[in-house]
């Protein structure tokens, strides 16, 4: 046995350990989804805690059908999917624009008290939403946006300001100030610098913010519940909750619905995950 093989073996053992650890961890991350999937393929009388790990006896897409189209006593998710899209797309776009502008101002156009202002904005991230519901409904009623998707967009945009500002401010802090100064010397104004210098650099930042906002708004439940008073404008999370009854829940339908609801965000992560990482690398969250 030569020295090189010995060394190679010694080097291989940690490698094997590494892969084992990563696969075990991957199993841990996939376990709940596995459970979601097998439960959603069962019929309701097959669903019980003591048989939860059993594979479904027959492959039935019935639960998905009920969850999507509705069925006996169940209102499907079909309609509310569109509502969620009408909510998430404008809210995400506006959030990105506002966050980007705020980040630009707070990092490149510093004024006295800019730090204090940033702090004050950041603090908004921590407000417990349960406690603002009562005044929120009253304010929205007064401005005529209670019970509308626009109202929900507004709320998500406003409560998204802190995190989007944080991300963009950190991101722009990494952009050399010399570039901005050079722009000023060239005679560009506020928007010229923004458009020609910062915007082209901020695509990764936009990806991070867009993914973050998209996911959190898509998955948000409490505001959707309280602000949309009519069934036909409810976002999909509220509709998902409505798949369950007040007394008992058809878990197979509920899980199938959960998978359907998670699809858009999963797709976003699978296809944009790489850009998300790139955006993070480019400095959005470096503090």
């Amino acid at each position: 046995m030569s020295a090189t093989t010995l060394r190679r073996q010694a080097g291989r053992r940690p490698r094997v350990l590494l892969y084992t650890a990563m696969i075990v961890l991957a199993a841990f991350y996939l376990l709940p989804v596995f459970l979601l999937l097998i439960t959603s393929l069962k019929s309701f009388d097959q669903v019980s805690l003591s048989r939860m790990w059993d594979l479904p006896t027959s492959l039935s897409l019935q639960s998905f059908d009920s969850a999507w189209n509705g069925g006996k006593g169940v209102i499907g998710l079909k309609g509310s999917f569109l509502n969620s899209i009408k909510l998430v797309v404008p809210a995400t776009i506006i959030s990105c624009m506002l966050g980007s502008l705020n980040g630009y101002v707070l990092s490149k156009w510093r004024f006295p008290g800019a730090n204090a202002l940033f702090t004050a904005i950041l603090f908004g991230m921590f407000i417990p939403y349960q406690s603002v519901l009562i005044p929120l409904v009253q304010v929205l009623t007064r401005i005529g946006l209670y019970g509308s998707i626009s109202g929900l967009v507004l709320v998500h945009v406003v409560y998204g300001i802190p995190i989007t500002t944080l991300i963009f401010r950190n991101y722009y802090a990494g952009v050399p100030t010399e570039l901005v100064e050079a722009g000023q010397i060239d005679g560009s104004d506020f928007f010229g610098i923004y458009r020609h210098i910062l915007l082209p650099l901020s695509i990764p930042g936009f990806v991070v913010v867009a993914i973050w906002q998209f996911t959190s708004i898509w998955n948000e439940f409490l505001f959707g519940l309280i602000i949309t008073n009519q069934p036909e404008i409810r976002p999909v999370t509220v509709a998902l909750q409505n798949l369950s009854g007040s007394q008992y829940t058809q878990w197979n339908v509920q899980m199938a619905g959960a998978l359907l609801v998670a699809l858009p965000t999963l797709i976003v992560y699978i296809f944009l995950g790489r850009y998300f990482l790139r955006g993070l690398m480019a400095g959005s969250l470096k503090g």
């Binding site: 590494l18 990563m22 961890l25 991957a26 991350y29 709940p32 989804v33 979601l36 805690l49 003591s50 939860m52 790990w53 506002l98 502008l101 705020n102 630009y104 101002v105 707070l106 156009w109 510093r110 202002l117 004050a120 904005i121 950041l122 603090f123 908004g124 991230m125 921590f126 407000i127 417990p128 349960q130 406690s131 603002v132 009562i134 005044p135 929120l136 304010v139 802190p162 995190i163 944080l166 050399p176 100030t177 100064e181 104004d189 898509w218 998955n219 409490l222 998902l240 959960a258 609801v261 965000t265 999963l266 992560y269 995950g273 990482l277 993070l280 690398m281 969250l285 470096k286 503090g287």
Partner: protein
């Protein structure tokens, strides 16, 4: 870099001497105004409203603005349930942060060590973030429902007994022990870690550790390899390289992660509600659930407001050190 910053300061100093409020600056201020107004109304206005309500005796749906001073704070602080909630939120936040940061860093280091199938592993680790807490709460509740073990287990216990690891079975989310469970005079809640909270923390870490991983991974990729190589040439061991170079350079990332994870942790609501409903007893109850329950089920609006104010104060405890740190580094720049 340092030089550039000095120039920057000098330049802005000159600008200030000349005329501070240029048209561009006015524009800048104008552009940020809508956000400021929105935050002023929807955050500070509502905090003010909550603070004011917490001093009234509003019970029931109809508003009652009779001033009662700090009475509601006395009531909730005296209540076993709220004391338990404060304990729980501290325990949850501490373990959740440690878990996410530790696991996130470990995952990032593993993925960063040039493994095959990196993209697949990365996607698997990060995807839980895409799913709503409401959904994952239900699934994790099933997994951590112990059943009548060891004879007739369910969930994870069942899985353990199937693969011959029966000795690992536990009461999970139904475990009502608080360890070590110190009793302090004047405090009704026992001090310690509620065992039922651990599965909830596992679920929360499962959900958010992938995101932490992504942040760390981004940080790791941003560290120039030459830096580490130079240290190795100087004879540093891998551990020393990690400890002396990698870790300090990741510090800002850790800080950002703490803020983002911290705001999720202190406001945690849906996950706990769907996973344990706060039980057994109040062992996993958190202030978020308390505020919701007291405000909307019990209609004790004023007490709910008081609890919300206490939550905000807890947040301030977490966030103020960060902001001070942030301000200091600004000054250094």
């Amino acid at each position: 870099m340092q030089q550039a910053r000095t120039q920057d300061v000098a330049a802005s100093g000159r600008a200030r001497r000349r005329r501070w409020l240029t048209r561009d600056r006015a524009t800048a201020l104008l552009m940020i105004t809508p956000s400021v107004i929105a935050i002023a109304v929807f955050v500070y206005g509502f905090i003010g409203w909550t603070g004011y309500i917490s001093l009234t005796k509003w019970i029931g749906i109809k508003a009652d603005y009779t001033f009662v001073g700090l009475q509601n704070y006395g009531t909730i602080f005296n209540a076993l349930r709220f004391q338990t909630d404060i304990r729980n939120t501290i325990v949850f936040t501490a373990f959740f942060l440690i878990g996410c940061l530790g696991l996130g860093l470990a995952l990032a280091l593993m993925i960063d060590s040039r493994v095959r199938g990196e993209a697949i592993f990365r996607s698997i680790y990060i995807f839980p973030m895409a799913i709503s807490f409401i959904v994952t709460g239900v699934v994790w509740a099933w997994i951590f429902t112990p059943g009548k073990f060891p004879q007739d287990p369910t969930g994870l216990n069942l899985l353990f007994s199937k693969i011959g690891l029966g000795f690992l079975q536990s009461a999970w989310i139904t475990d009502n022990r608080v360890l070590p469970g110190y009793i302090l005079s004047g405090i009704k809640a026992r001090i310690g870690v509620p065992m039922a909270m651990i599965p909830v923390i596992v679920a929360a870490v499962w959900q958010m550790s992938g995101f932490t991983m992504a942040m760390y991974l981004a940080g790791l990729r941003g560290i120039p390899e030459e830096l580490r190589e130079a240290a190795r040439v100087d004879g540093a061991s891998e551990w020393q390289v990690f400890q002396r170079i990698t870790l300090p350079l990741l510090q800002p990332i850790t800080l950002s992660a703490v803020i983002i994870l911290g705001h999720i942790s202190l406001k945690i609501f849906d996950l706990v509600l769907t996973m344990t409903g706060g039980g057994p007893g109040n062992a996993t109850d958190v202030p978020g659930i308390f505020v919701y329950d007291i405000t909307f089920n019990a209609n004790k609006i004023a007490q709910g407001a008081a609890a919300a104010v206490v939550m905000l104060l807890l947040v301030a405890v977490l966030i103020v050190p960060y902001l001070i740190y942030n301000a200091r580094t600004e000054v250094e720049r």
